[in-house]
Amino acid sequence: MSDKQFDEREWGRRLEAGKESDPELLLAGQLRYFRPEPRPLPPHFKRELRGRLLQQYGERSAAGRLVEWGGSLAAGAVLVLAVMVVWVWLAGPDQRWGAATESGTNPETNAAGSLPVDLALSGTAAETARLQLELAALEEEGTATGWQLLALRQRPYRGNADLIQVEATLAWNLAEPPREVSFGLAHPEQGAEAGAAGMVVLSTAVITTATGSFELSAAVDPLEVWQQLGTLEPLLAITTAQTLDGLGTLAETVAFAAEPLSLFTPGRDRLWLISASPEPGNPLAGQTPFRVEIGYRLVSAPTADVRLHLVHPEWESAGGDGRLPINGAGDVAAVTYGEGTLTFDFVTEHLDYLLQVIGDRATLMAHMTTGGDSGVLDMLTLRNFSEAQWPIATPGAALPDLVWFNVVSPEPSDTVAEGTPLAFEIGYELHSAAAGTISVFLAHPDRERFQGYARTTWLESQQVGAGEGQLSFTTTLTELPYHQAVIGEDATVMAVLSTASDEGEYQELVTATHEETLWRLGETMIGIPRVAEMEVTTLADSAGAVRLELLDFASSSDRAQGLAPITMTAELVYGLPHRIGEEASLLAFVIPSGAGASIAAGGGIVRAGEGRVILTFSFNPWRDLGRRLRHNVGYELIFMLNTVDEAGTITTRAQVLPDTPPPIFIFEP
């Protein structure tokens, strides 16, 4: 598209709507998805700069007002004094704030008294490593009490766009510590009536300070929210439960602190063909009854319509020559958020009509849209099922070449790791040449959208002669990192029927993609303990709150070269009261930045009480993670204390993250 013909407003509208209807917009979507991780300011420097700025502010404020008030020294002195009083009050002994802190031995709390406004707690005062006090926001409100939302952010979860990362900063200022607090999502219309039972819980913490703020960070499964709440625009909700020395809940309140979120994920809707009758390859001679089963996934809207069309396989690239989609291949199907299957029944038109409107071959095309009521359709996704084709019988005309998948193994949504056996049965019709080659490739699911950028990797080829037939391919996936590097983590399979001229010139005759297949390349190991040595020393019973603190952490190497494994050792202390559970699992996770899936580096069981744990785990970045850690990367390290109830529900009771885990630098051998 040249800039002269370019309608920037229309293009901008599509960009803002998250559309991917042209190569530039598609690339924009990829850039959003692969956004590099932020690089925070070093904490020391950040704190120092903050103090310096606020000091300057006070000086400027005083000086500025002195000028404004015509050099009134008295007024200036009052102002400076007022600023100093505020600072002194904030920096003073922490009677006001420290009194709310349960642990009087928290060194961060004591040290915070020397800072003008930036109090920071971590770990010990509450059961979350991300708890910190922000006096400024609450002091601004003077005597205001209650909960306040300071920041709210949401975005697709890295590595799995079906999840939404919700991050929020919530502050409280209450007469008493809120104790057990659950942060979750609730239906916007039910409000406080929803209660804890009507909430999708994101995080739970025991908070022992009357004033503070909570950094909430959770990956939300919109499907769970949809199923539980019936909305994808929930409110952020807070449930606080006051407990009285193990006697149970004394009081419960629910506060709502945000406008509705939106958990839709643009650009990740999918349609795939499950089955079609008559079998692909059978010629259509006119009025033929069809039954087509289609799978769908809708994640960008609560409801949508799916329409099926009969089209020529190249209908999009042909303009004005009669290759038009035939509407009304079955009824319009209304679908709701989630995944499911649809069945379309229809009868094809007369042969002459098919030949005139479609051409010599027919395939199926489906699209998913919203906005039908307003008369303007908003396309969510469109899919050509070119893996299923039917020749349209033309007396005396040459039959078209065809290729299609009959069987693909493993199952469509399986994980395919290095060494996984792959099997295919492929049907074909070769009429335009005496001999040809059928090749099978792994392919990016949306490879058709990459103009001139074929994201495919070859698997196997076989020679075929003219005529109809069926081939069986069996192979084993090798060089997984190579496939991942070219295609990504999701792959489908593609068959190509090609031939070579007498001069040896390659000619691609027909291509078919098995849309149903969406393999995950490489193992994902979320939540599966791998390698760990754990040494637990139980020190005493714990009667207080759940806690988990990281005392020490070391990595064997911060610059692992080649294939060397990395060993990490962490020393932690925990407190697990009997009322919470008799045992809990202590897990360590390494999560590569931007890669999504985590390695469950390992863990073990700890008993109720207080204890000290030495956790040692190792992993081989190249072997275990393939391309994910092939280069210099950032990563997060998280330690979690989880309990499991009788129903099998896992609850994270405490977690701790080192502020700055050592970087891993890995270079390919």
């Binding site: 901008g12 956004r35 300011l41």
Partner: protein
């Protein structure tokens, strides 16, 4: 953050150091990330971040809310500081790639060779193209905020983005044609 909430906070920050502290807490990391990506120099990024907030502090009383976020204003200050720095240093070459993750040039070059196709292609873009892409997609700023930072209209941002993305796509195709030649049918 809601716009009216931020507007109210900025107004408070014009009279109250604590409110300015809240703004600093919210945006310091973002500004530092942005500067670091543009310069790949930690010390310089710290200096520019500090200068940005010092200037913001100096001028916050004169700041007038015009519908765009306070953050966009900070980005604009930071961007000007980066440009000024390179002018002072008489750097004639375009800014170094934000991709380089190591101040050590030799290592950085090694690392850059190992970046994936997208990052490689981004690195080959002219600085203005890369800047508009980084601001819009990596810094997650709205198009209106990017317009505010670059001093142009939103429509012009779309034109620049479209052009930059087109160039990026072509760079990726150029990079991909050699890399994938061995796996394409018949090649």
């Amino acid at each position: 953050m809601l716009e009216n909430e931020e507007e109210a906070l900025v107004k408070r920050a014009q009279q109250d150091p604590q409110a300015f502290g809240v703004l600093y807490d919210r945006y310091a990391d973002r500004i530092y990330t942005f500067v670091w990506r543009q310069t790949t120099d930690e010390a310089l990024a710290k200096d520019v971040t500090a200068t940005t907030f010092e200037k913001a502090l100096r001028h916050v009383r004169r700041y007038r809310w015009q519908g765009n976020s306070f953050c966009a204003w900070l980005y604009r200050i930071a961007r000007n500081e980066i440009v000024q720095h390179y002018r002072r240093q008489r750097f004639l070459a375009p800014l170094r790639s934000w991709l380089l993750s190591d101040a050590n040039v030799e290592k950085a070059v090694q690392n850059q060779e190992r970046q994936d196709a997208l990052q490689k292609a981004l690195a080959r873009l002219p600085a203005p193209d890369r800047e508009v892409i980084v601001l819009r997609f990596f810094e997650e700023l709205s198009s209106a905020e990017v317009a505010e930072i670059l001093g142009c209209s939103t429509a012009n941002v779309y034109v620049r983005l479209h052009r930059a993305l087109g160039r990026l796509r072509r760079e990726m195709e150029v990079g991909a044609s050699g890399e994938f030649a061995s796996v394409r049918v018949g090649e």
